[in-house]
Structure formats: C-alpha cells, structure tokens
Amino acid sequence: MSETAPPLRLLYFAWLRERVGVSEETLALPEGVATVGDLTAWLRARGPGYAAAFASPVVRCAVNQDFATAEAPVAPGDEVAFFPPVTGG
C-alpha cells in the first residue's frame, strides 16, 4: 500500500470501547486485510484488550455507517465501527 493512502478510522462503542480502551483510533490498512473479518482477526491479535473485546461472537460492525458482515470489503479511508447488538428503545 502507498504511504499516502488515507488511514482507516476505527470506532468502538459500549463494552467494546471499554475493553479496547479507546473510543476511536486511526491506522493504516494493515497488510493482508481486505475484509471486516480480516480486520477483526488482525485486531484480536493486537493485545489483551482487543482480544477480550473481539472474543465475543456477537460483535457487530458497520462500514461507513452501514451495517456490514464479516465478508464486507474494507478499504483505506473507510470508517469502521464495532459494537454489541443494539439495545435502544
């Protein structure tokens, strides 16, 4: 990837935010990461907080503010959010 490629913006909500320890971060798209599933696997290996956050099978994702599955593509400049199943209302 080119060094001038825009970074990924990652957002974490609710207990994912608490486990990861930050609400938001930016990073260059990691080598070999092409989908949400790839990104989740990469993040899980990043440290104990991330491992705890992404250990749960219920983690949901949105790419550019639309709900996304593990197969959804991720590209430089995307806003990718991770959160638990929603509990509003």
Binding site: T87, G88, G89
Partner: protein, 151 residues
C-alpha cells in the same frame, strides 16, 4: 413527507411534538403514539440510572431509514422519532414514536413497526446502573428480534 428524527439529551415534550406533527393540517385522522420509559428494575434488581450511548451520524441515518421504510409500507402523513441519550433516571422517557395517518389502523401499525425496528436496527446501547452500585450493559433480547421479524 419528511420525518422528524432527533437524538438528544434533553427531555421531550409529548404535547408539543403532537402539536408540531399536526400543525396546519386537516387531513390527519389519527396519530399513533409510543413512549418508552426507564423502568425501576431489571431481573429483580433495582435500577438507579440508565446511560444511553449512540453512534452520532449512523444513528440518525438508521432512524431516517426506518422512517422511510414505514412510509413505504403505510399511507402516513407524518412521523416523529425522538430518542434520548446520556444518563436517565427511572420514570424518565427515553423514546417517542409518533405516526400520523388519515386512519387509525395505519397510524397504530406504523407506530408498532417503528418501535420494533428501532429496537433492533438503530445503534443505541444501554448501560444499567443498579441501586447496589453494580453496572451492566443491557443484553439484546431474542424477543425483540422476534417482534421486529413479524413485520
């Protein structure tokens, strides 16, 4: 028809929202209304407060999409969706759904649809603070998925 969609920390005034929805209109025959409140207990544990978090940007988009879906399904003359965030106490209102139509069935059905879909598709998360000092994120319920799936 433009739906009114708001996410706010401040309380909402139900009478003012009803008046705004029907202001200057004589074609509305009925308005369905749902108000969700903070309960004082969960699973037998007393609740001291509820804290709601959302995803600014996506939440408003999701609410607008849910309103647009309701407009596709029923002949509606107006929709109001207001959801509060931040720290709320038992008895406080969290969410307001209004759906206006020429006739009651569309208004009532659309109101039920809107709250059912909101609960399963709009990015909000609730954390309960218990009277004993403990805290827990609310877990999504299968019964909410079932309620949303009936539409």
């Amino acid at each position: 028809m433009a739906a009114t969609v708001r996410v706010q920390t401040a309380p909402f005034d139900i009478a003012a929202e009803l008046a705004a929805l029907s202001a200057g209109r004589t074609d509305i025959g009925g308005i369905g209304c749902f108000v969700g409140n903070v309960r004082d207990s969960a699973g037998g544990r007393a609740i001291a407060a509820m804290t709601l978090e959302h995803y600014p940007g996506m939440t408003e988009r999701a609410l607008a999409a849910i309103a647009a879906e309701a407009e596709q399904r029923w002949a509606l003359l107006g929709i109001t969706l207001i959801h509060r965030v931040g720290r709320l106490l038992p008895g406080e209102a969290i969410v307001l759904v209004l759906a206006a139509s020429a006739h009651r069935q569309a208004a009532l059905d659309a109101t039920a649809f809107l709250i059912d879909w909101l609960k399963t598709r709009a990015p909000f998360w609730k954390k309960e603070t218990f009277a004993d000092g403990g805290e827990d994120w609310v877990t999504a319920k299968d019964t909410d998925d079932a309620a949303a799936a009936r539409w």
